[in-house]
Structures are given as structure tokens and as C-alpha cells.
Symmetry: C2
Subunit: 328 residues, 2 copies
């Protein structure tokens, strides 16, 4: 029987999950839950109920895995523990600094309900985390580097939009090529924030706005831009829509290290992602972890899990015999 998936929250990520389910023949979309009026929500899949979030518990026996598609700032810290009491859940909680607290809250709730809860699935945290762990275990004497981009940072784009006189904006995070090359050389360089990434902003300003003032406010914004070399381009709304409507992202996890009795040999492990759609790829990773969560729960496991706890074989729809015959 197929794994029955519930989508809780229908934004970019929720739509990505809906699309990912179609690429996984062992999964079926069972229902979409929304805090909006369900009658106002049109989803892409025919015949699947759109249900008020308030009625989610009535679906307890109709959902194998609930995928939480809310935001990390305010939604998931509440929703994941709450729903983990009643469902096997997967979220993509991505506030790195708050993961230990989120883990503890979700773990208690999931154990109370006898459920599995996989948190922080996606690509960072997620696929990138896996590669940091594997590379560190494979090369204990070395150094780790994570670069992001080229890609759209939603947080930085939002920060620009809050400046007076700005109509809309898109911000790209761009890794610095020379820094990437230095890391790949195995020299284990020490790199400042400014040396690793640049920021490029495409901004639509109100007519008559003081462009110099907007540019200055962007470049001097603490935390977001002040520590980076930032470029600002003013463009028309039409250009923004035409050239910058996508949500690409990606990045690099690189570890270099030494082996040998005298550290005489260097090695470089590099993992990279080049993604046309950040939310769709994140959703696709989450779908694989939904499969794993369901299997682990079926085997009797419970509690909060991360990508570090999930044996790779659980992620694949292939049988174990097929995996060792074709992929090992």
C-alpha cells in the first residue's frame, strides 16, 4: 500500500511536496491542510481534499506521514511538536542555532505519541549536513567549508523590501571563485565572511526615490550586508519579473584533509548542488525522508530523528537486494 502523505501548509514548499509525490510511485497525496479558508485554496491535484488545519486530527488514520511546510521562525517550533503527538511528521526546520531546542521539544512530543519525527530535512540543513558529517568522519585531520549560491536569499530580499522607497527586490548570494579555488587546493585557508561570498541586489525603486540613499541603506545594513561586498542594480519592475522570477540556489560543501604517517598526502572531498528551484529540491529531499520516517515507524522506532539517524537504505524505494546489486 502506498505511503499516504499529508501536506500541512500550502506555500512554495507545500506545492513542491505535491509535485514531488508524483515522482515517487510509492506515495499518494492524501490531503492538504491549510489555515486559510479551504474553499479558497485550489491545489494542483484533482480529487484530493483541502482541509482546515483545525480539523487535522480527524485525519489521524488517513495519513501515514504529515509533512510540515510552515516557516521556521514561528510556525514549526509550535506545529512540529504539536503534530508529532499524533502523526509521523517531517519538517525542514532550518534555523541552525535553534535546532537543539527544537529537537528536544519534538523528541518529547514524538515519544509521547509513539511517532517518528524527522526534523531539518532539506539541503542545508539536510544534504549539506550529511556531507559535513561524512567528510569529517572520512578525513578527521582537515577543515570544512560551506559556500552558498549562486542563489536567491529570501531573507536578504525581504530585508531590502523593508527599506523606504523600495517596491520589490531580489538578492543573490554568490560564492567567490578565488575562495573556492583556494579551498579546493587543499591549503586550508582561513577565510573571512567578506572573502567567501558577495551579494548582488536587483532593486525596483519607487518613482522619484533617492537611489543613493537606498543603495547606502542596503550596503550598510548590519548582519545582512555590512560584512559583504555588495552590488546594487536598480531595474524596472518589468525587468525584475522577466529576469529574476526564479528561486535558484545551491552551493558547495568542501573538506580537505591530510593522511599519512607524516601528513604527506592531501585529499579533497567536494559536494555541490546547482538547483533551479530551491523549494522543489527541498521538497524532493523531504519526500525521501518521509519514506524513511514511515519505514522506521513501521519497524517500531519512535522519537525525533535527523538526517544523521537515518540509514541511507531507508530513503530509497528500491529493495535492499537491488541497492547492493546496482548502486553499491
Amino acid at each position: 500500500m502506498n505511503i499516504r502523505i499529508g501536506i500541512y501548509g500550502y506555500g512554495n514548499l507545500g506545492r513542491g511536496i505535491e509535485s514531488a509525490i508524483r515522482q515517487n510511485p510509492d506515495m499518494t497525496l492524501a490531503a492538504v491542510f491549510t489555515r486559510r479558508d479551504p474553499s479558497t485554496l485550489k491545489i494542483a491535484t484533482e480529487g484530493v481534499p483541502v482541509v482546515s488545519a483545525a480539523d487535522v486530527l480527524s485525519y489521524k488514520d488517513k495519513i501515514d506521514v504529515m509533512i510540515l511546510c510552515g516557516g521556521s521562525a514561528t510556525d514549526l517550533p509550535i506545529q512540529t511538536p504539536e503534530l508529532a503527538k499524533h502523526f509521523t511528521v517531517v519538517d525542514s526546520f532550518d534555523t541552525h542555532a535553534k535546532i537543539p531546542v527544537h529537537f528536544a521539544n519534538v523528541d518529547a512530543a514524538a515519544k509521547e505519541g509513539g511517532n517518528i519525527a524527522v526534523i531539518s530535512a532539506g539541503w542545508d540543513p539536510g544534504a549539506f549536513s550529511l556531507n559535513r558529517l561524512y567528510a569529517g568522519a572520512f578525513l578527521p585531520d582537515g577543515a570544512d567549508y560551506t559556500f552558498w549560491g549562486k542563489g536567491v536569499s529570501q531573507g536578504h530580499s525581504d530585508a531590502i523590501r523593508r527599506i523606504a522607497g523600495v517596491v520589490d527586490a531580489k538578492q543573490y548570494t554568490i560564492p567567490v571563485d578565488s575562495a573556492l579555488e583556494a579551498v579546493r587546493s587543499g591549503s586550508e585557508p582561513t577565510l573571512t565572511t567578506r572573502e567567501k561570498h558577495t551579494r548582488e541586489c536587483f532593486v525596483v525603486a519607487e518613482e522619484g526615490a533617492d537611489l543613493a540613499r537606498i543603495e547606502r541603506e542596503i550596503k550598510e545594513m548590519p548582519n545582512y550586508f555590512a560584512d559583504y561586498d555588495t552590488t546594487v542594480h536598480f531595474i524596472s519592475l518589468e525587468e525584475l519579473r522577466r529576469d529574476h522570477s526564479g528561486i535558484p540556489h545551491g552551493g558547495f560543501v568542501i573538506r580537505s584533509g591530510k593522511t599519512g604517517l607524516n601528513r604527506e598526502n592531501s585529499h579533497v572531498i567536494e559536494y555541490s548542488l546547482k538547483l533551479d528551484s530551491n523549494p522543489e529540491f527541498t521538497a524532493s529531499v523531504i519526500a525521501a525522508y518521509a519514506r524513511a520516517a514511515h519505514r522506521m515507524h513501521t519497524e517500531g522506532a519512535c522519537g525525533c530523528k535527523t538526517v544523521f539517524d537515518v540509514a541511507p537504505a531507508y530513503l530509497s524505494p528500491k529493495s535492499y537486494d537491488e541497492l547492493i546489486a546496482t548502486l553499491l
Copy 2:
């Protein structure tokens, strides 16, 4: 207490394990086992016994994990099942086509002894296999590509050495740049063997040997060279020793795939290794799986395992709290 490691077979890989143990403070080298006369073997670590392979069972209570460093052709098919009856073991069995049979033999032996046996740890099989599995699970609608090199192929070097008139030889497998670029573009090209890799041979011939005949025999050798564009360079023994004494290797696992309701978005996942020393990196991966095997055995698991069965957290010496706080 540290994990007590036994090394069974002291060639390039065994020496790599000895060196890797020094980079893992939770491991101690307990003994080296050899089929040679132990008195003739000088190892790099002071105070560690070198023991005849015939006496291995007397070390049953002194070894937590036995690492098998023999060859896949004739040693491991016998040794891994035999020793898995008595020890937790790790091997790097790398004859891909024979893994299912090896798995079955080792699984029966390990279960008989109540031990864990991790087979086929290393980088291919091993780290590359993991990346093929993860990438396939994360992008179900896509295509996989594995490229090897630039690196020394021991098997191909040996094949050249068997030709009459050849004193010594080194063969490099080299991925074709244009093929790598085509794969990275996301176009999912169909590539022939010849389009993916070239082979470059450095050959020392006997004085007066017929070089044209040797070159022809190399280039026409079925399976090894006939399907590739092969370059042959005749050099002196001195040049071979000076310029080609290393054992570098590496390669690329790339998967590209589509997401979206209409497959409108492309994604590329790329994993690559650039290794100065193939056996030392392989050994370093094996050491991490020795830690995992010991932990899984301590938890009561038994039977044959592969990299697909090992949850990533088992590989790292860090505590789980530290992992989720620093690497997730």
C-alpha cells in the same frame, strides 16, 4: 575505552589503516596479522605485536574490530566469512558484480558468530555508492553518472606488465572533460565508454623490445583498453620512479534530474574526490566504518552490513548533541 583494532594483512591498505588509527583518538592498534613470517615484518607502530595469521583466534578477546586488508579477487571471499564468525570485521571488497554473493556468505557467517561485518567500505564501493543512493532518492526523475580519475588503475597497470618485453608500467584513467561538462549541464547525455574516459600509459620496456608491438598489444587488449582512446608513452625506469610513484585517484558521481509539475526545473548534484593516496583514503573511510561497526555491535546488532545500512551518526566520534549543534 578505545576501540581495539586488528589489521589483517599488511600491504598498502594495511599500512593506511595503521596511519588512519593515529588520526582517530578513540582507536588503538592492537595487533597486525600476517601470512608471512611475523619476524620478517617491521611495522610503523612501536610495541604492537605482529602475529601469524594462523594464531588469529587467540586474539578473539583482544580485538574489537578486525580490518581485513587482503585483495578482493582471492583473499576476501574466503577471509571475511571465516573471520566474521569470530570477530566484528570490516572489509573493502570491491568486485561490484560479486557483492551480492559476498554479502550472503558474510551475512551467514556473521550471524552464526553474533558479529557485525561491514563489507565494501571505501570510496567505490563506499562513499560513491552513498552518493549514488542519496542522489537517486533526492532526484527520482534523473540520471546517474560515475567518472573515475584522474588516477592510477592497479588492474590496468598489472595488465600492461604482463605483456612480453614490459619491465614496469603505470596506467592513469582520465575522465573526459567534455563528457563531465555535458553531464553537469543537466542534459542527461547518453555516453559510450570511449566518450567518458581515456587511458594514459607510462611504460618501461626492455632494451631492444619491439615498442610498436607492445603499444599495439596494449591498445588492442580487450576489456582493458580496446574500448578506450589510449595513449602510450615509453619512458625510462628512472622516470617512472621519479614521476609516477604515487597512487593518486578520485572521481565524480553526478546526478541530474528534473522536478516540477511539468519537469520544468533542473538540478545537478555532484560529489567528487581528489585523492593523493588511494589506499590511505580508503583506509580512512574504513576506520570510520570500524567505529560504526563496533557501536552497532555494542548495541546488539549482528549480520552483514554495507554503507547503506549505517546511520551517519555512527561514523563520527562526536556526541550526538555536538553533531546536531555543529554539523546539522
